[in-house]
């Protein structure tokens, strides 16, 4: 496919890897923010092409992984209510909550449907005017325009049976939280290319300056990622701190104006809890008061729940780049994709799932 295949060319990838090796003189830790990038890195073995001094640290950019347990619990509570049709992206169904997941709710008779787009959920609501249709709106900035448009459309049509269970998160506050942490080891960022497609990259300049980290807007194909690493390493080696955008085939400096306008109309910035990490101030999106009637937490009277998370899962450390998945004691033993302890083992973009799928379970050395 055009704009995919050519960015997977093995010869070009090796050339870029060689260029990276030529400019690397010291060890560097670079975080790829987005789980889609993590997936590509592990799948294509991009980390194994890099010189040993470069460590790719996996970031928090997996919306499924960071959706807090309390929201999974609310989903599991709403789904079986009489008259409810609960629509969700497929990835969310097996994420464990306190009392099971959406898939088990479905097995017990709840009408849980997997949809590909929030517009599909809207269509389900139109077709079932006597039922309440709830869409589990998870995602980063990339998905926010789609969810905002679904709500705006529902309002325009005067629909009374469509609501969102909102778990929207924002990337730049999470990057700042990682950089501000005393355990931080990230020296440069590959910013998430599709988040930037929507939001642009102007908000990264102050972060780069404040924490002295290069930030390179990076795409998702092997050549995109290698180019991102190359530019990031060059900045690090030369002592420069800039925001660069090699993913310009999709990303404009100001992002997507129409999308940003609609996000700002429907959503407002709110504090949000991240699974395994905790609350990050101003790190999420919630519906504006003008759209409160489309808020599932209000419609079903579920606001203000809160639970602690089970402690064996170390996903918070994995998501902040402190721990690699296979360094978690439960990895591949008590925690597998069939019996996940954490969301990072469920989502196709979770680092734990990517390691399990493409790297297998390591034989632990006697010394470790």
């Amino acid at each position: 496919m055009k704009f995919i295949d050519e960015y997977r060319d093995a010869r070009a990838a090796r050339k870029l890897a060689a260029a990276i090796a030529r400019v690397t003189t010291r060890p560097w830790n670079i975080m790829e923010v987005c789980g889609g990038q993590t997936h590509a890195i592990v799948k294509f073995g991009i980390d194994e092409l890099l010189p040993p001094q470069i460590t790719l640290v996996h970031g928090p950019g997996c919306p499924v992984c960071v959706t807090p347990v309390e929201l999974i619990d609310k989903a599991v509570e709403i789904a079986p209510l009489p008259g409810v049709i609960f629509c969700s992206f497929g990835d969310m169904l097996r994420v464990p909550g306190t009392n099971g997941d959406l898939l088990s709710a479905k097995a017990r008779g709840a009408d849980v449907r997997v949809v590909y787009s929030p517009l599909d959920a809207l269509a389900v609501a139109r077709a079932n005017p006597e039922r309440q249709v709830v869409f589990f709106a998870v995602g980063f900035e990339t998905t926010a325009p789609a969810n905002a448009l679904a709500v705006a459309q529902a309002q325009r049509e005067g629909m009374r049976n469509f609501t969102l269970l909102v778990s929207h998160v924002l990337v730049p506050p999470a990057m700042e939280a990682i950089l501000a942490s005393p355990s931080n080891r990230v020296q440069g960022f590959l910013a998430a290319g599709h988040v930037c497609t929507v939001m642009g990259y102007e908000e990264y300049a102050p972060i780069a300056a404040r924490y002295r980290v290069p930030i390179v807007v990076t795409g998702f194909e092997p050549l995109d990622i290698l180019e991102g690493v190359y530019l990031c390493v060059r900045q690090l080696e030369e002592g420069r701190v800039e925001v660069e955008n090699p993913y310009a085939r999709s990303v404009r400096r100001e992002g997507n104006r129409e999308a940003r306008r609609l996000i700002a109309e429907v959503f407002q910035v709110v504090p949000r809890r991240w699974r395994g990490i905790g609350e990050i101030p101003q790190s999420g999106l919630g519906l504006r008061p003008a759209y409160a009637e489309f808020d599932a937490e209000r419609r079903f009277g579920l606001a203000g729940h809160g639970v602690e998370e089970p402690s064996e899962c170390r996903s918070g450390l994995v998501l902040q780049g402190v721990l690699k998945p296979h360094e978690c004691p439960a990895f591949g033993t008590r925690c597998t994709p069939e019996h996940p302890l954490g969301a990072t083992m469920v989502s196709s973009e979770g680092a734990c799932a990517a390691y399990y799928r493409y790297r297998g379970v390591p034989v632990r050395a006697a010394s470790s």
């Binding site: 055009k2 260029a19 789980g35 919306p63 988040v195 050549l223 085939r249 129409e258």
Partner: protein, 84 residues
């Protein structure tokens, strides 16, 4: 989750601000895509599509840049390899 796939616009149905849509081909697989966020995109353009919404028009000139750069590197490498 933030996956976005490039596809080529085959047809456009101008709706109002929210409902502009079109048929988009992903290597032969055709889907209906909302085009509200890419008012500048027309038939024949490639767009990046995420959960049924186009979030950007692919800039074909920018898309070539890395290959130009690689070719340049190659020439440079060849020049370096030549005995001076």
């Amino acid at each position: 989750m933030c996956l976005a796939v490039p596809g080529k616009i085959l047809t456009v149905t101008e709706g109002d601000g929210l409902t502009r849509s079109g048929r988009v081909s992903f290597g032969g697989v055709v889907r209906e895509v909302n085009l509200a966020f890419v008012p500048e995109a027309a038939v024949g353009d490639y767009v990046m599509v995420h959960v049924g919404f186009a979030i950007s028009r692919v800039d074909e000139q920018e898309a070539e840049r890395i290959f130009d750069y690689l070719a340049e590197m190659e020439e440079l490498g060849a020049a370096e390899a030549e005995p001076s």
